[in-house]
């Protein structure tokens, strides 16, 4: 049953991703005539002859019927080329993704792991010590993460590091295996800031969800029969408080991707987010289309994983009805 549910959910990703790619395609082709013009004027030329523009349109395949254009992009995706080549430097999009995906993937992974390992326990402590100083302290630490956008925190962090220690993060990115120390220095600050922003939502939900659970009669029973606090908190309360925490992970994952988009540009990390911004600024449409579609697929996959975790955490969530778990999708 689990397998068939998993397969049907995986199959559902395809139409949603297709629809998403059509939306991106639609947005970018609403002004068909202007694409070539924007590319030309993007290069600094303000005036260009109609012939030049026409030649470029022909070269880019913009004169084809839009079905054909979408079809050729889609064929490029299906045959494993991730949508063909870049318009700007003719590099294959596949090689670009192979280069950039690990950077963003690692950033997101570090952030998810750090958020769960640091903020969930903090949320539990805050609920346990409700309205005492640990609770206030934890909520105080979480507050800037909620209110101040991570790119502002990033600028302030770079500023204070520079002013106080005369130190700035390394400029050249290296993979975790090539030069672990440089890699750590490079990703430490963006991950810290993303964790701050992402985790502040987690701590808030963990706290309120735990508080709700802790007021239940079975917790009183567990305490009354003399179970140690740890067992009550982790064994009885946390298990039942997990669902909203899993939900918020999914809801905030998009914001996390949006955050990496900007932080990569600030910290000079060569990831998908920076690739997307660069491609968007250069109006490199096939690249934008492929990267965005990939991000959407990543979102869908993460939400699918969370749905599975959801069912793990709550035995009453059934696999047979897709509606009952659709909340996180």
């Amino acid at each position: 049953m689990t397998i068939s549910y998993l397969l049907s959910r995986l199959a559902l990703i395809v139409p949603t991703a297709l629809l998403a790619s059509m939306i991106v395609f639609g947005i970018m082709r609403v002004l068909p005539g202007d694409v070539a013009a924007t590319i030309l004027s993007g290069g600094g030329e303000t005036t260009h002859s109609p012939e030049v523009r026409e030649a470029l349109r022909e070269e880019l395949g913009l004169n084809d019927h839009w079905v054909r254009q979408y079809g050729s992009w889609l064929w490029g995706v299906v045959n494993g080329q991730f949508g063909g080549d870049s318009l700007v430097d003719n590099q294959s999009i596949r090689s670009q993704i192979a280069r950039q995906l690990p950077v963003t993937g690692l950033l997101a992974l570090y952030t998810l792991a750090a958020s769960i390992l640091i903020w969930v326990p903090l949320g539990i402590i805050a609920s346990w010590q409700r309205d005492k100083w640990p609770d206030y302290l934890i909520r105080l630490i979480a507050l800037p993460g909620q209110a101040v956008p991570s790119f502002l925190l990033a600028l302030l962090a770079i500023l204070s590091l520079l002013l106080l220690f005369g130190w700035s993060p390394p400029i050249v990115y290296t993979g975790p295996l090539d030069d672990p120390w440089n890699h750590t220095l490079m990703v430490f600050w963006p991950v810290l800031l993303l964790t701050w922003e992402f985790g502040s939502h987690i701590v808030r939900v963990t706290r309120s969800s735990m508080l709700e659970t802790l007021s239940q009669p079975y917790i009183t029973v567990a305490t009354a029969k003399g179970l140690p606090t740890r067992a009550v908190l982790l064994g009885h309360a946390l298990r039942n408080a997990l669902l909203p925490i899993i939900t918020v992970l999914g809801v905030q994952f998009g914001a996390l991707l949006g955050g990496t988009l900007i932080l990569e540009s600030i910290f000079g990390l060569p990831g998908i987010g920076r690739g997307l911004v660069d491609a968007a600024l250069a109006r490199d449409f096939p690249v934008v289309q492929s990267l965005v579609t990939m991000l959407v697929v990543a979102m869908l996959l993460v939400n699918l994983l969370l749905d599975l975790a959801y069912a793990r955490a709550d035995p009453s969530v059934s696999f047979t009805s897709s509606r009952s778990t659709a909340g996180t999708s």
């Binding site: 998403a20 939306i23 939900t247």
Partner: protein, 294 residues
């Protein structure tokens, strides 16, 4: 708005003084932005080349930038741009989203199913990603930024208004309206809309903070209001090169943006407690319970 409601609000204000402070600070900020032209001591675009990168104090209240432009005046005018774009995009996004959500819930059947799949597909896009794509395609300008943020926000509003409309769909007064032969438009706008308006407005206030940050992030990436017009994100991006010699170029717009966004978040939380009877918990928790119910 009746007196009982006002008393209710005032009582809540006593319990939640932070919300009242936020509202007051926002009033000051909105006032400063509205009358930026009068308050600003300088033309935000005027370059005073001999006095570049002046520290705050001598001649320039909050210093001058690398072109010798007054940072205080630029922050005020940037605030006007930021608030205009944020409010306009939230108004547009909320209007589109509400109409889609209500119509979808009202029609039901295959229309609802189809609309929800499209909303789901839009929902798959991280807000910033969608905004970057739209602005990059249509070229950076105030109008595109407003449209981009509105389109990115609309699906969230659509989900919200749909779920609140679904909860009243089978209730007595809707059935009664149907049975006396009221038109679809009338039922939608007279019976569904008032019910959804409270929660939607409460969330919309919080969305203003999201829109402010998105606008700043877009201009920071060079996809906002084109220079030399002042915008907070643009000022932050320009100030980055001078972090070491002129930190105020970064600090001033950073503080302006954070304080404004924070006030909208606090006020949004407060309004949600007042206007949405089903919610008595913080925003993100409520968002998740909403989805659990769905």
């Amino acid at each position: 708005m009746n007196t009982a409601f006002l008393i209710h609000v005032l009582a809540l204000g006593r319990i939640r003084p932070v919300a009242m402070i936020a509202a007051f600070v926002l009033l000051v900020i909105v006032f400063a932005a509205l009358f930026a032209g009068v308050i600003a001591p300088d033309d935000p675009l005027a370059q005073d080349t001999p006095h570049r990168l002046q520290s705050p104090g001598d001649g320039y209240l909050l210093g001058s930038d690398n072109f010798g432009r007054d940072v205080f005046s630029r922050t005020l005018h940037g605030g006007r741009t930021a608030l205009t774009i944020a409010l306009a995009s939230v108004a547009l996004g909320t209007a589109i989203g509400t109409v889609i959500g209500l119509a979808s819930a009202y029609r039901g059947g295959w229309v609802d199913l189809l609309v929800q799949r499209v909303v789901d597909a839009f929902f798959g896009f991280p807000l910033m990603v969608l905004a970057v794509v739209i602005v990059a395609t249509f070229g950076p300008s105030a109008t595109t930024v407003i449209a981009a943020i509105a389109v990115a926000l609309a699906p969230q509003v659509a989900r919200l208004s749909r779920s609140s409309a679904l909860s009243v769909r089978a209730s007595g007064h809707i059935v009664a309206a149907h049975s006396i032969g009221a038109s679809s438009t009338r039922i939608l706008f007279r019976h569904f809309l008032p019910h959804s308006l409270g929660p939607v407005l409460a969330y919309a206030t919080g969305f203003v903070a999201t829109a402010l940050v998105a606008e700043a992030a877009l201009s920071f990436l060079g996809l906002g209001v084109p220079p030399p017009d002042p915008s907070w994100g643009g000022m932050l991006a320009d100030g980055r090169e001078f972090l070491e010699v002129a930190p105020w170029l970064t600090l001033v717009p950073a503080v302006a943006l954070s304080v404004t966004a924070l006030c909208f978040v606090v006020l949004g939380d407060f309004l949600r407690d007042v206007l949405d009877p089903t919610v008595s918990v913080p925003i993100h928790e409520s968002a998740s319970t909403q989805e659990l119910v769905e």
